[in-house]
């Protein structure tokens, strides 16, 4: 079965935003705003950078795996997303900033799990052993 367009779009969004996000973190690490935001977090800077790096890496891997139709990538994204939200709730007092991410997360999950052709696409690849 041909890859659904929604999956292609989601995959590319993940790949591009992971690369741009990594570059942005590297470029703005020493900026005044970033330093102030880090001070407001309960986690140390090292832990924050580690969480960001792991999340971006997993998103990048998920993007590639979505293109290849790997079924595990859907579940990996859900688990990573939920852990990231949990860490945000524990580590940050700026709850308002979690709203865009939450909306984005829910929309992506809907596109990954609800449409019939998407489910067929992911499960078919699994059956084919690709």
């Amino acid at each position: 079965m041909k890859r659904p367009l929604s999956i292609t779009i989601i995959a590319w969004i993940f790949i591009v935003t992971s690369v741009i996000g990594a570059a942005e973190i590297a470029l703005t690490a020493h900026s005044h705003i970033t330093q102030e935001l880090i001070k407001k977090s309960l986690f140390s800077p090292m832990v924050l950078y580690l969480i960001s790096f792991i999340t971006l890496s997993i998103n990048f891997i998920c993007g590639i795996a979505f293109l290849k139709g790997k079924n595990w990538s859907r579940y990996l994204y859900v688990i990573t997303g939920l852990i990231a939200f949990g860490l945000n709730i524990i580590g940050s007092e700026m709850r308002m900033m979690m709203i865009p991410g939450a909306i984005f997360f829910i929309i992506i999950i809907m596109f990954l799990f609800i449409p019939k052709n998407t489910n067929v696409f992911f499960k078919q690849i699994k059956q084919d052993g690709m």
Partner: protein, 142 residues
């Protein structure tokens, strides 16, 4: 394979130009920026993005340019909508407002910034969806 990778990298840069067009439309300054100035700068960035896109399409053989442009425009629309939402939440968070420099005017709402910026996002998404639909219909004919 290498040609495909090069075309994808060029597509990403084209997408950055399309996104920059939206940022220009959202910008508000100390004094309102004339609409004509915004449209000229935005139009220039848009044309640059299109030129880059077609250079990228040349690398992938021009066969799927309708589909690729459609997907790129949808991706840009989704990411810009997300960015606007993030900025909106930033303005509603007092902790962040206190950190932001006082002269930060990007995405601050002016007379026409919101209308133009959101309008551009909707237009990008709609044109992208139409191009993909057109591509699908064309494929079904063959």
């Amino acid at each position: 394979m290498i040609r495909k990778i090069i075309s994808i990298i060029i597509y990403i840069f084209a997408g950055i130009f399309f996104s920059a067009t939206d940022s220009i439309l959202f910008v508000a300054g100390h004094q309102p920026i004339p609409l004509s100035v915004k449209l000229v700068i935005g139009g220039f960035l848009l044309i640059m993005g299109l030129i880059l896109f077609f250079i990228g399409a040349l690398f992938s053989g021009l066969r799927y340019w309708l589909r690729d442009l459609g997907i790129l425009l949808i991706v840009v629309a989704v990411l810009q909508a997300f960015t606007v939402m993030v900025f909106f939440c930033m303005y509603l968070t007092p902790d962040i407002q206190s950190i932001m420099p006082k002269d930060m005017y990007l995405y601050q709402y002016s007379q026409n910034a919101l209308f133009l910026g959101v309008g551009y996002i909707i237009l990008m998404g709609a044109v992208g969806a139409l191009l993909v639909r057109h591509y699908k219909q064309k494929m079904q004919e063959y």
